[in-house]
């Protein structure tokens, strides 16, 4: 892996490798000194063209725990607002010898453009691009789901997949990079994915996706999902006639108290409720659901740091064999033996 741009082009082997390394990284997070020297002397630039404090600090914490130097380049108030092009910014970062660029950008495909353009040699990590993908979010969701699923089976999380798991994703799929990344990654890892949302917020062309689509949330819940992932409803969609009103949206596609109770009625004791945050409480998710023991919201945040450490580590530590998906290459072993775990 030279870059992490999308989950659609992530092989099962690389996905599992990322998740397995993330398990090792999570162990570091539980130690008193939460730091590894793995990326000492390497420079990671967080290039953020959109406000996203949550994602930015998660990447920053990940890079710092690996001892990398971190430069935060927030574009608002910088030269980009004076019209500097992505090309010029990239070449500037190249001249400063950035080893990795973590990019958040409102334009779909901007990270892919950065990686393929030849403007910069650094590894590119997509931290969310437009309505395309958000691969590290999907990885942290998969990590969270895998721990839950493996735990139910009494198995260790490392090395296991999501085979047999049924995951329901609900809401604005059309504009959601989280949904896209999860659809590809979770199916790659063996899960069955269900989607539910208003037809206006499901993209034309969705029929070719490897999932089942429901217009009715209760019909989807009747499929007895093992996890329900609620997507954030963006404020700008609320006034664009995608649906009549936020109250109607909430009644039809919100995870409210009634649906929370339904899980109990159906005997779905092990079904978890996920949300990528930030949540619109009372809109796509009720407070009772968000705060229930089923909720994995905070675990997702915690796991985000581990997954991003794994991504930066695998992209920057050389890892010469992985492009060939070499069976014998075990990065976990590499960390354990060659470094300081």
């Amino acid at each position: 892996m030279k870059h992490l741009l999308s989950t659609q082009d992530l092989s099962a082997r690389n996905a599992l490798r990322l998740l397995d390394v993330a398990e090792e990284m999570a162990a570091v997070g539980e130690r008193e000194i939460k730091k590894l020297p793995a990326l000492r002397g390497r420079t990671v630039v967080n290039l953020f063209y959109e406000d996203s404090t949550r994602t930015r600090i998660s990447f920053e914490a990940a890079a710092k725990r690996l001892s990398a130097d971190v430069i935060n380049f927030a574009v608002k108030g910088s030269s980009v607002s004076k019209g500097e092009s992505l090309k010029d910014t990239a070449q500037t970062l190249e001249a400063m010898s950035a080893d990795a660029v973590v990019i958040r950008h409102p334009a779909s495909g901007a990270p892919a453009r950065l990686a393929a353009s030849g403007w910069i040699d650094a590894a590119v990590v997509n931290a969310g691009d437009g309505t395309h993908e958000h691969p590290t979010q999907a990885l942290l969701d998969a990590f969270t789901l895998r721990r839950h699923w493996a735990g139910l089976g009494g198995m260790p999380s490392a090395g296991s997949t999501l085979a047999g798991m049924k995951v329901l994703i609900v809401g604005d799929v059309l504009h959601s990079r989280v949904a896209r990344s999860n659809v590809w990654l979770l199916t790659t890892l063996g899960a069955e994915v269900l989607l539910a949302g208003p037809p206006t917020l499901l993209p034309v062309g969705i029929a070719s996706w490897p999932c089942t689509v429901f217009y009715d949330l209760d019909d989807a819940l009747a499929q007895r999902p093992d996890a329900v992932m609620m997507l954030r409803l963006q404020a700008e969609r609320m006034n664009a006639a995608f649906f009549p009103s936020t109250r109607e949206y909430s009644r039809r596609w919100g995870f409210d108290d009634g649906r929370l109770a339904l899980l109990d009625t159906m005997g779905l004791d092990d079904t978890v409720i996920m949300h990528p945050g930030p949540m619109n409480r009372g809109l796509e998710i009720s407070s009772a659901a968000a705060d229930s023991p089923r909720s994995t919201v905070l675990a997702q945040v915690r796991n985000g740091v581990s997954v991003r450490m794994a991504a930066l580590y695998l992209l920057l530590s050389g890892d010469p064999h992985d492009e060939h998906d070499d069976e014998t290459d075990d990065p976990t072993a590499l960390i354990l033996e060659g470094r300081t775990l």
């Binding site: 092009s85 495909g109 901007a110 393929a116 437009g130 896209r180 070719s208």
Partner: protein
């Protein structure tokens, strides 16, 4: 092909052994701007100082006529000028191009169209026919001075707001009615604006995955359906620019069957490329209307073969590199096309058996000349006809390298592709603008333009 001349610019050229329209091998004598003779008479009548062009293995075709070219001048001379764009046109096998109206200032007055027309005469590489804007400033609110442009020295017959759809149905109706007074045609850029707000690519399976805002086929088809009905209602003439969907083809086929006076064009890129290329996020593939699916591509090819689509229009749209070296959403729409059109059409239509070379001449020359009312272009290669013709080597193979092109634009989506066919010579009004596959010299500006008969020609 080798060319021998004794004089830098001989008064006559004897083309030896060209397959006329891909058929019989003949000699063709070009003298004083016309085809003086064809066959044995050409050889016999050739003056001793005539330049000779060895055309063995080459096909003689009428010079191509483009109904849809963006020359960018006035206003964006960093992207293209009339001089550079018409050089590209001559190299591409064109003897006439229609310069679209979306310059700056917009070609919406007699003054601007005459300026573009004069720049074309001064360049001398091809005939440059300005297209007039339908609405003032392309604003879509009131008609531009269509009559003044028609009566100007540029004798405008094709009117278009290309780049923007004339979406107000009343305004479109009035435009269609008004141009009947001077046998004009409205060339519509069919794009329903509300359905395509922020649109970035064809709406379908690929846009769903890429997270790029979709440009649905229905946004094109609904406007075409409305416009053919308006055209029928007011008894006028409509030309549909850059048809890109299978559904549009069906509507146009239906309209023609009802006797509606509608013509349609397709670009070379829509005959070859699909939205799968957008997966690269490389804006060289960003164009309006967008690249569609392979089903659309095949429907467009079939429609061009059966005459539902009348002509090729390049929609040559050069852009400076900074407008393409950026994020997809911020990139400009458009592709260059003048220097690749012949090869792409040969590749997609001739080598597939869908068109013979006569058919090629129909869609690239005769058809567009008739739509644009250019009486002296798109004519048969026969004695007494204006000498607008090209020699093509159909066996040539070449790899597209935008950096070597005559256009200023480097935004060719065919970069790196090996394509068949090469233009070896272009004769514009009897003057060789291209010889041996290279630019020769422009037609001297002092001569009477070979264009004055345009308005008088009755097809």
């Amino acid at each position: 092909m080798t060319t021998r001349t004794t004089d830098p610019i001989p008064s006559a050229y004897l083309i030896r052994g060209a397959a006329v329209l891909g058929g019989d091998v003949q000699d063709v004598l070009v003298r004083d701007g016309v085809v003086a003779a064809v066959g044995a008479a050409a050889t016999a009548e050739a003056p001793s100082d005539a330049g000779t062009v060895d055309a063995e293995g080459l096909i003689a075709l009428p010079g191509m006529v483009d109904l849809h070219t963006h020359l960018r001048e006035p206003g964006r001379e960093d992207a293209e000028t009339v001089e550079t764009g018409s050089r590209a046109a001559a190299l591409g096998g064109f003897t006439a191009v229609h310069a679209m109206a979306n310059s700056s200032p917009v070609a919406d007055t007699a003054g601007v169209v005459e300026q573009v027309y004069r720049l074309g005469l001064a360049s001398g590489w091809v005939e440059v026919r300005p297209v007039g804007a339908v609405t003032a400033g392309l604003g879509g609110e009131r008609l531009a001075e269509l009559g003044a442009m028609a009566e100007s020295r540029a004798a405008v017959r094709v009117f278009s707001d290309d780049g923007i759809c004339v979406h107000d149905p009343v305004l479109m109706r009035r435009a269609l009615e008004y141009v009947k007074a001077f046998d004009g045609v409205i060339a519509q850029h069919a794009q329903e604006p509300r359905l395509t707000e922020g649109a970035q690519m064809n709406e379908g399976e690929v846009s769903a995955v890429l997270g790029l805002a979709g440009w649905p086929a229905v946004a094109e088809e609904s406007i075409i359906a409305r416009d053919v009905l308006l055209t029928q209602h007011v008894g006028s003439r409509l030309h549909v620019c850059h048809v890109s969907t299978a559904g549009s083809v069906e509507i146009i086929r239906w309209a023609k069957a009802r006797g509606i006076d509608v013509t349609a064009e397709v670009t070379p890129h829509h005959l070859l490329l699909t939205d799968e290329l957008v997966r690269s996020y490389d804006p060289v593939y960003k164009v309006n209307p967008p690249l569609r699916t392979s089903d659309d591509v095949h429907a467009l090819r079939a429609a061009l073969a059966d005459g539902t689509i009348d002509v090729i229009g390049t929609d040559h749209a050069p852009h400076p590199s900074e407008h393409k070296e950026c994020e997809w959403a911020q990139a400009a729409m458009g592709m260059t096309g003048l220097e690749t059109a012949l090869s792409v059409v040969q590749h997609t239509m001739v080598e597939t058996g869908l068109l013979d070379w006569e058919g090629f001449a129909r869609v690239t020359s005769t058809g567009p000349a008739r739509i644009g009312r250019l009486g002296h272009q798109g004519r048969p290669i026969a004695a007494g006809e204006p000498a607008n013709l090209i020699l093509v080597d159909p066996a040539a193979r070449w790899t597209v390298d935008p950096s070597t092109m005559a256009t200023k634009g480097r935004n060719s989506p065919f970069r790196g592709l090996e394509l068949p066919g090469s233009v070896r010579a272009t004769f514009y009004a009897g003057h060789p603008t291209v010889l041996d596959g290279r630019l020769a010299s422009p037609r001297p500006a002092s001569g009477t333009p070979a264009t004055e008969g345009a308005a008088a020609w009755n097809p």
